[in-house]
Amino acid sequence: MRNRASVAPIFASPAPPRPSDTPSWGERLVARLLGLPSLEEAERRLRSEPGFIASLTPEQIEAINGRDEFEVLGPRNGPKRKF
């Protein structure tokens, strides 16, 4: 019989990849019939419209400048680095 130590690495190994979740052929067809944008259309819109950075005013950029705490996001109990 195997002891606990011999089975522990199995549980410690990374979980298998999650199954893919891309739209199915049928969903893509229905999306096209409904006139929803394709990747090419979405890409064209993305490149032609102002993005998040372009939407910022000089005052907003000035407010961000010098704020180290704005450069960090995450829960208080998030995984910390161990040295």
Partner: protein, 187 residues
Amino acid sequence: MPNLHFWRAKQDYARRRRIAYDTVRGEAAQTGFISVPLRIEETNEHTVAAWQATWRGPHPSGAGSWDWDRLLRRAWRRPSAFHVAIWSGEVLCGLGVGRVSKRRAFGLRHTISVHFVESAHDRGHPLRYTIATLVIAAAVAYGKLLGATRIRLIEPLPGVIPLYERLGFTVAWKAGQPVYCERRIKP
């Protein structure tokens, strides 16, 4: 037998991330927001190695110091995950990771959420004070390509809530603590 469907999904989402990140890099240069060399890329083993080798000591804010090895490896298991590395030349200046909501009808995702962001710990890195903006911009662009209509920043630090509000985010509170900040994405 290799999981072909999983591999195809990884390729598809990687392509979308590349398009999104290239667009943000161009926008950052065109608007003058960034005037030093800038690369915005997906994360990979090289990113983890650079993080381990160069991010030492506490973050200037006193927060963060996330275990990016663990966070990124978890993100890589999900093809649609949002993960980004921001470089200036060979200097790793910032990291971000998040996810998109479950796929709705016709493949659309309604929300992209950013869970972790951190800039390099070196106070002299070339992109200081621009990392969060670049990560948010990358997430917005990637979300747009997936049909998302809102971005959420999960568990922001309470001290910078007024700043997020100033950038157009609304804050959701629970028991006196900020749960997330949210902003609409124009489809």
